[in-house]
């Protein structure tokens, strides 16, 4: 099939017009994919923990209980961060050089975990019961979860020839038996309260309302990155504890939108490339026919 230059240009114009019109479609598809993500909230009775920083005395019983339950080796020093062998940590903050204030660090078990979205093989999963679980049976050690987590939680066994990612498990084994996580049970002053997320948020609001001078008027984890299962009350601004502010949307929102565009992109590119091949092939064979015709008339073509 031959096609004249004029027809080719006309069709190209049509193609460009269609492309412009279609370019509005990706935006709508992307927003739809993002909307789907945001619509998935936490199930009403998903488990959570409320940590009250004004009660915590920094005794680190939670650290010891966690190590024991998970069979983790003791720390040689007391680093300020979580490691592959330390799933929870009490950090000591000294706001404005005053009295030390303690804050417990561990996996936040986010409502929309970036690690679970990032994991290539789905080794990290958000369970409806609340915990974000890690399945070493699937993990390939790519460490994307470590890069994606906005709280910098998952850690890696750099010294191991068979290295795994490691983080707080939320004691899913204990929860399955109807027990509380080890750290919650171990706390001698009951700074940790385990229960349904909705109830704990309500309880936290009650505490702030009852003693407004005692607490900063903010529940950290209520809406940060779309909400976390571990929510915090504090006497001092959270920034002074090293808890940076976060966006209220899940960090995965734009990635989810981009991934929503993959199926239409696949179809669109395949169709466009096929169309271009079909169109330009026609022009090429007509050019060949022209060249052949000129050669027949005698005299060389350049």
């Amino acid at each position: 099939m031959t096609i004249s230059r004029k027809e080719f240009l006309k069709l190209s114009g049509l193609g460009v017009g269609a492309a412009v019109a279609l370019s509005l479609l990706p935006g709508r598809l992307a927003r739809a994919a993002g909307g789907e993500l945001l619509a998935q909230g936490a199930p009403a009775n998903a488990r959570a923990v409320l940590y009250d920083g004004t009660i915590c005395i920094g005794c680190r019983s939670c650290e010891r209980a966690c190590k024991q339950v998970n069979g983790l080796p003791p720390d040689e020093a007391h680093p300020e961060t979580l490691t592959a062998y330390t799933f929870t940590r009490i950090r000591t903050a000294r706001p404005e050089g005053g009295r030390p204030v303690y804050v417990k660090l561990q996996c936040m078990h986010c409502v929309h975990p970036a690690c679970a979205e990032a994991c290539i093989v789905g080794a990290l999963k958000k369970t409806p019961e609340g915990p974000v679980t890690y399945d070493s049976g699937k993990c390939i050690g790519c460490r994307y979860c470590m890069v994606a987590c906005p709280f910098g939680v998952p850690n890696f066994q750099w010294d191991n020839t068979l290295p795994w990612v490691a983080k707080c498990t939320f004691c899913t084994d204990l929860q399955a038996k109807g027990l509380e996580p080890a750290c919650v049970a171990a706390c001698p002053v009951h700074a940790l309260k385990f229960g349904a997320r909705e109830e704990l948020l309500a309880a936290a609001k009650q505490r702030i309302a009852a003693e407004p001078a005692r607490y900063v008027d903010h529940i950290y984890g209520e809406s940060e990155v779309g909400g976390t299962s571990w929510v915090y009350l504090s006497a001092v601004p959270f920034e002074e504890l090293g808890f940076k502010p976060h966006m209220t949307q899940p960090v995965t929102i734009n990635a989810a939108r981009a991934m929503g565009l993959v199926p239409p992109a696949l179809i669109g590119v395949a169709a466009t490339m096929t169309g271009i091949y079909w169109l330009t092939k026609g022009e090429k064979s007509s050019k060949h026919a022209k060249d052949a015709g000129e050669k027949e008339e005698g005299g060389e073509t350049k």
């Binding site: 390939i140 750099w158 271009i276 091949y277």
Partner: protein, 404 residues
């Protein structure tokens, strides 16, 4: 030494030494763990291998899909001579990515898990699947060179009959994973610096890959000209040089419009020191090449085209390092500089690929392919090439000649 034989500029001996130098840390990695050979840490879980081998490597291999698409789908016969070298470079590039991942992954023996356990929400999953599939596509696209050399007519006919669907598939796969490498970074809105973070990052990644693909083809073919003497026609080089600035211009325009639309254009001047990284990448990779290639004198000179292409490649690598390492804060308070063993492994892999390219040019019809007029012609090997049965003694002769 015969007069026609040319020595590789660095010498195959040096390349061999680099390969061995890269192997030693690899062995230590498997026996002592990743911590023993790298400066990676919990705060910096990704480093040189991800920025260089994965991010830069995949983008630089974009010559495969861009040239194959341009020659076979847009039917630009003029560039036929560069299609095959481009596909070879791309195939080796992707093989390098996979080999580097076998070092970087914590459990590389489980790399096949990605084929069985799927997380379709993960951009990196999509990259993994597309890269695996596309490497296969590239192998098939390159196979005619091997079949021609061995004079296997039936496989040759089969591959030629599926060539167009294969090229279309390759363009689709490349579009998806080149952009998804950008989508991966969308997961870090709080740690990737606002000068780079944008919802259109996947599109920027795709466009920059389309620009650097032909530039890398120019770069690689100029170097192989120095070694083998097969000169690419200035017509072809000039054609590539004419087209690339338009893609770079679109890329630059999108970047600037995006920064302005998000109200961040001021950061270009105020966000120290990241703005220096930004200016560096833009100046080297886009502004300077666009200016240089606007001069007909440069566009028509081999060295002008080569150095412009080199700038584009350097700028692209700079950009990929910026978004995956230098401007990606990951966890504050951690610093990172690559361990020499990390670099040695990557250099060793590049030396591997260079040796393979050298062998391929010596043993297979790659450059001589420029004589073929159309992909439909079944081309017999050149009369100057020894017959297929002589392949083994010829390899032996080559090895002897290197004095390894």
């Amino acid at each position: 030494m015969k007069q026609q034989e040319r020595t590789f500029p660095l010498g195959t001996t040096i390349l061999g030494a680099l390969v061995i130098l890269g192997l030693v840390p690899m062995i230590i990695r498997y026996t002592r763990g990743l911590g023993a050979i790298s400066n990676l840490s919990d705060g910096r879980p990704w480093g040189f291998w991800i920025s260089f081998d994965l991010y830069s490597g995949v983008a630089l291999a974009a010559g495969g899909f861009t040239l194959a698409g341009w020659v076979y789908l847009f039917n630009r016969e003029k560039y036929h001579a560069v299609a095959r070298p481009a596909v070879l470079t791309a195939f080796l590039g992707y093989t390098l990515v996979i080999l580097a991942l076998l070092v970087d992954l914590g459990q590389p023996w489980y790399i096949w898990h990605a084929m069985v356990y799927w997380n379709i929400h993960s951009p990196l999953f999509e990259v993994a699947i597309c890269v695996m599939t596309y490497t296969l596509v590239l192998a098939l696209e390159f196979s005619p060179a091997v079949f021609e050399r061995l004079n296997w007519r039936l496989p040759l006919r089969i591959i030629r009959s599926i060539q167009i669907p294969l090229v279309i598939f390759g363009v689709v796969l490349s579009t998806l994973h080149q952009s998804s490498l950008g989508s991966m970074l969308l997961m870090m809105p709080e740690t990737l610096h606002p000068l780079w973070y944008t919802p259109i990052l996947p599109l920027l990644f795709l466009i920059s890959a389309i620009a650097v693909g032909p530039a890398m083809v120019v770069f690689e073919s100029t170097l192989s000209t120095k070694v083998f003497g097969h000169k690419l026609s200035l017509d072809i080089l000039g054609g590539l040089a004419r087209g690339i600035p338009w893609v770079l211009g679109l890329y630059l325009l999108l970047k600037l419009v995006d920064l302005t639309a998000r109200g961040n254009i001021g950061l270009v001047f105020t966000a120290y020191p990241q703005n220096l990284l930004w200016w560096g990448e833009i100046a080297i990779g886009a502004i300077l090449p666009i200016i240089l290639l606007s001069f007909p004198g440069i566009r028509q000179s081999r060295s002008g085209i080569f150095w412009s292409a080199t700038l584009i490649v350097a700028g692209l690598v700079f950009n990929r390092f910026n978004v995956s390492m230098l401007a990606l804060a990951m966890r504050p308070g951690f610093t990172y500089f690559p361990h020499w063993m990390e670099v040695a492994i990557s250099v060793g892999l590049v030396a591997d690929a260079t040796l393979v390219i050298w062998l391929a040019y010596r043993l297979l019809p790659i450059a001589s392919h420029e004589d073929a007029k159309s992909p439909q012609e079944t081309r017999l090997p050149d009369a100057a090439q020894p017959p297929p049965e002589a392949l083994v003694p010829e390899v032996a002769k080559l090895i002897q000649g290197t004095n390894l």
